[in-house]
Amino acid sequence: MTQLLLFNLFNGLIIGAFYALMALGLSLILNLSGVINFAHGGFLAIGGYLAYMLIPHLGFWGALAVAPVLTAGLGLIVERVLIRPLYGRDPLYSLLLTFGLAFILEDGTRYIWGAGTLPFAVPGWLSSPLSNTFFFLTGYRMFMVALVVVAVTGLFLILNRTRLGMRIRAGTMDLETVSVLGVNTGILRNLNFGLGIYLAGLAGVLAAGMLGLQPTIGSTLIMPSFVAIIIGGLGSLPGTLLGGLLIGVASGITTVFFPSASEAVIYVIMGLVLLVRPRGLLGEEGRF
């Protein structure tokens, strides 16, 4: 029983780390540009499939380094061409556009790579269990957790220590003033979008190694990411991180006791949070 609980707890933590990685990217875009990026899951899938294509040429590590960058590049183009014309219009339109884009990306990956699950090879030494008692602690899982920690730390360093990060944070508070101070907000939003998509691509490579590659991989991960943002509080990146981990662990624990409710439980938590604290756990008062 303890082992089962530990297993699912750890599993939940990993899933939570995924949700957090994805939700952080979504949150970045949402906070600065007010765009709910429905296509985020599609970009995640693209990241995974690009890595799949690159592995024979660059190996796992090369693919891990390059695929998210390529995905981010695609994100930069999409923002520039499709999303930029919608800034300043009702948020309804960007929502509908990214919604359509999600369809195109999912169907496009299915068209190119097929609907079946593709095997995704990770280095052999990463996939063996580290201990016999705790069989679930494979090297790959530990590696994933470590990489998510590195990525999140990197993100917060960028936001807090670089000029770009400072401008993103300032723009989140008041984009107009930032623009008046001479910052090109078009480029700022573009780079910020790319940064968010980079995180999606990275999550895609990691998810492919754990869950296998399917066109629907993105759409199964996107809803919990929304919930993570809502629970954490809109406008707060640490909140998003907390929300992601929280729902991952909660659904892991629920799997032990009541498996068929493991998806529904995160929405129950969301309902409770909204009831007690409508702005989310770490959200600012009066922002939305």
């Binding site: 709910i36 948020p91 929502l95 369809f103 809109l234 929405y267 939305f288």
Partner: protein, 316 residues
């Protein structure tokens, strides 16, 4: 002159709808396609009550639509073989769920509101998807069908006669649409418009904004769940995908496509969307890409919708 035009347009719409089963065949359609258009038009019109006339963006209406779908399916399959009882259960279930969830989210605004409605919609999807023994899970709920309606003096065979079913849908549509139109003409409806135009000013005037939005949300969800019950009866089947988020997106695009600031817009949007979907999915397996592309094109080049465009042209 304008009012006269409006009256003429209304009469034309009703005449077209009344005769639909008879002229649809001659343009290459079939009666159940007409019923499908009308059912989804009802859903989109109900959504638009909230979206276009209260200015509140919900991206989770499929949940209440789906509660209608499962309400009618489960009632006929397990409780009583009666179409009307099933519809009543479906509508009540959808409305109660909307009232409860609405109370939780009514203080949120804008994209935050949209996001929370999306997320809440998924709860019902997972319940339908996971509760195999009752709902049939991923396979959907089958093994039931709509029942003839006994009116006392006569029995209407909506099962065997497609046209009879179409007129059941049309009557429901007419009643729902008439109620919504009357509400929009009433002081309550004018207040909703005021909230849409300037919420802060409405609040200064002493209007209880939150409770107005809540009521508008509940009304909108009530009629969307009515549409859900009709949709289940049309298919004789309840599909878990009817309550998924992509269905919500379809409703929104129908309203936008037709023109969300106009009353008949969602009807036109639904007609275009259904016909297009029917055609594309029979031509290619990659219909998802085409629908997605369609979303993108509508947003970029056609944001006012068909009627919005016509209105703008004709305005002096």
């Amino acid at each position: 002159m304008r009012a006269l035009n409006q009256r003429a347009a209304d009469i034309a719409v009703w005449l077209l709808l009344l005769g639909m089963p008879y002229w649809l065949d001659s343009v290459g359609g079939y009666t159940s396609l007409g019923s499908r258009i009308l059912v989804l038009a009802l859903a989109a019109t109900s959504l638009n009550f909230l979206l276009g006339f209260t200015g509140v963006l919900s991206f989770g209406h499929a949940a209440y639509f789906g509660l209608g779908v499962y309400g009618v399916g489960l009632t006929i399959k397990y409780l009583v073989p009666s179409t009307l009882a099933g519809m009543a259960v479906g509508v009540v279930a959808g409305t109660i769920a909307a009232a409860i969830i609405g109370a939780l989210i009514v203080r949120l605004r804008g994209i935050y509101f949209a996001m929370v409605t999306i997320a809440f919609g998924q709860v019902f999807y997972f319940i339908a998807y996971r509760w195999n023994s009752v709902t049939g899970g991923d396979d959907g709920l089958s093994g039931w069908q709509r029942q003839p309606i006994d009116l006392g003096f006569t029995t209407v065979d909506i099962l065997g006669n497609d046209k009879a079913f179409y007129y059941l849908v049309l009557v429901s549509f007419a009643v729902a649409v008439a109620i919504m139109a009357a509400l929009l003409r009433s002081p309550f409806g004018r207040t909703l418009l005021a909230i849409r135009e300037n919420e802060r000013r409405a609040r200064f005037l002493g209007i209880p904004v939150d409770s107005h939005i809540w009521l508008s949300w509940v009304i909108s969800c009530l009629f969307v769940s009515l549409a859900g019950t009709l949709y289940a009866l049309l298919n004789n089947f309840a599909d878990p995908h009817d309550l998924r988020w992509d269905q919500s997106g379809d409703f929104v695009i129908m309203a936008v496509l037709g023109g969300m600031r106009t009353f008949w817009g969602p009807l036109i949007g639904a007609a275009i969307f259904v016909v297009l979907q029917d055609y594309i999915s029979s031509e290619t397996a990659n219909w998802m890409s085409f629908i997605g592309l369609f979303f993108v094109l509508v947003v970029l080049f056609f944001p006012r919708g068909v009627l919005g465009l016509i209105q703008r042209r004709s305005a002096p």
